[in-house]
């Protein structure tokens, strides 16, 4: 460990911070789904642009890592590009758009379609980590609810959904129970992606910068979407075919393609779509 300082002291964060975040990450992995507080640092980007995810990624990255950054499934949005550029500069790591070639993937709002592997880490950017916040504004109370596993309230939210819409209309940030214990907000990913979290071979890390929380799902951990017996969870997607690659089992974006407002459905995971085309 003599040259540890050299090894660790890269990727923007100072060693102290990195150590603190890694400690939080280890704790988070030990208690799947539990929100670990951490002292979030100022990042050279505003809150809401993934500062939590960036700090987690920075704390994980090693020189040999290959980084992929996606935003809503796409590698080439401004946000994804700027985060990727940021790490190219401060860590000098290789980057890729190819899901299979990445060792660390930072994501906003999607899980790649391609099944992840054991040697990958998926880092989620999280705006609001507390799934109970919607109905219980008091942080002291939600903490006790987690501690005592008092989760009736989460079903109240789903009950409200059904009573208003005739079905569970929550389509994003659909609450899950991790390892039969903690209820977790999977960040605003579409519920279509929820099943991918269950027994996922990759490590899943979640960082919320503004709210200063880190949580995690270790590899091969049970992640179950909440539901009612008579209104079971459904990983719904638009009943359409990708007009670019012809995929029928992917999560689709509806995009406007010309001035006349013509719409088209295509895979939201751009890397997956490209790989299917060829």
């Amino acid at each position: 460990m003599s040259n540890s300082e050299e090894d660790f002291n890269f990727a923007y964060l100072d060693e102290q911070t990195k150590r603190m975040i890694r400690r939080a990450l280890i704790k988070a992995i030990c208690i799947p789904g539990y929100q670990v507080p951490f002292a979030s640092r100022e990042m050279p980007m505003p809150y809401g642009w993934g500062t939590g995810g960036v700090q987690v990624t920075a704390a994980c990255l090693q020189e040999t890592d290959v980084l992929k950054v996606i935003d809503q499934g796409s590698d080439d949005t401004t946000n994804a590009v700027s985060i990727r550029k940021f790490f190219e500069r401060v860590a000098g790591v290789k980057t890729t758009e190819n899901t299979g070639k990445a060792s660390v993937i930072q994501t906003r709002h999607r899980i790649p379609e391609q099944v992840l592997s054991e040697d990958q880490i998926l880092v989620y950017q999280v705006p609001i980590p507390e799934p109970l916040r919607f109905l219980e504004p008091r942080e002291t109370e939600t903490r006790v609810m987690h501690a005592l596993e008092e989760y009736g309230l989460m079903h109240v939210k789903l009950y409200e959904d059904i009573s208003i819409n005739g079905e569970i209309s929550t389509a994003y940030a659909y609450p899950v129970k991790v390892n039969d214990r903690y209820i977790m907000d999977p960040s605003p990913t579409p519920k279509f992606d929820n099943p991918k979290m269950n027994f996922c071979p990759a490590i899943q890390l979640f960082g919320a910068g503004r709210e200063q929380r880190i949580y995690a799902v270790p590899p091969y951990t049970k992640v179950i979407s909440l539901d009612f017996e008579d209104y079971p969870f459904e990983a719904s997607r638009a009943e359409k075919t990708c007009e670019i690659c012809g995929a029928t089992n992917t999560y689709l974006d509806e995009v406007v393609i010309d001035d006349k407002g013509t719409r088209m459905f295509s895979c939201s995971d751009s890397d997956y779509c490209n790989s299917q085309k060829s």
Partner: protein
């Protein structure tokens, strides 16, 4: 006749104020005990100590649970205590906002306790919520409305439905008809009374309204400055009060 709650020598001080000064009370199964007294006499503080929402400085409180075990409430682990509050106990607040989630529909409010104890069938939860909203005399059409658009009396009835759906055994009420006008108040009291009888509930009800106390309580406790000055059968305390303070209290208001 069996006791369900026993409190001995309860003390609670706020600064120099003795809100509860060495109070002992016991409650029997199926009994409705009223606590009356002027503002600031410590009624709410006593109720909060008994119901576990406030920790007394000293004393001892035991409760006989559904399985016939005496529980020492002051040393009861927090999870068990909260579990009691959701299942065997109920607390009806004066202000319905303290007992309801205003952003959640009436049905969601009523169903919350069911979901908290593990109900996972939407239709069943809804059926029971419908049954209860009707029991408290609110039209079932209102099940999906938010309580924020309900009248004060309806909110209070909703709070009662929300509390009673899990068939609690012990119910604490702090001025349950406080902010309501007289006719609404009478309807609500009647409703509470019939539910108390139907479900065999034991009740501690705090009120400063002696008329409410007369109609609701079998037994009355009169408090002043954190102390119990008199206790007895409700009509006896009101019709033949022994303590000068109670005499003043009874004579200073219209005949009830």
């Amino acid at each position: 006749m069996e006791q369900i709650l026993k409190a001995k020598a309860i003390n609670k001080k706020f600064g120099d104020v003795y809100a509860c000064n060495n109070l002992s009370i016991e409650l029997y199964t199926g009994e409705v005990v009223g606590i009356v007294g002027e503002s600031g006499s410590g009624k709410s503080t006593l109720l909060n100590c008994l119901s576990g929402s406030l920790v007394p400085d000293g004393g001892n409180i035991t409760y006989l649970d559904r399985d016939n075990n005496w529980l020492d409430l002051l040393s009861l682990p927090e999870p068990r205590k909260r579990n009691l509050l959701r299942t065997e106990w109920a607390f009806v607040h004066q202000n319905p906002r303290d007992g309801l989630r205003m952003a959640v529909s009436a049905g969601g409010n009523i169903g919350e306790r069911l979901m908290a104890i593990g109900y996972r069938n939407y239709s069943q939860i809804r059926a029971e919520a419908t049954e209860w909203i009707e029991k408290v005399e609110i039209d079932a059409i209102r099940l999906d409305d938010k309580p924020s658009i309900f009248s004060g009396g309806m909110q209070q009835r909703l709070q009662i439905a929300k509390n009673l759906i899990t068939k609690p055994r012990l119910i604490f009420m702090d001025e349950p008809t406080g902010g309501l006008d007289v006719s609404v108040q009478a309807r609500l009291l009647d409703l509470i009374r019939s539910l108390v009888r139907e479900l065999g509930l034991s009740v501690i009800i705090v009120t400063h309204d002696l008329a409410v106390a007369r109609f609701m309580a079998n037994r009355l406790i009169v408090m002043k400055n954190g102390k119990i000055v008199e206790t007895g059968l409700t009509d006896q305390v009101l019709d033949d009060p022994q303590h000068s303070y109670t005499q003043l209290l009874v004579s200073s208001i219209l005949k009830v």
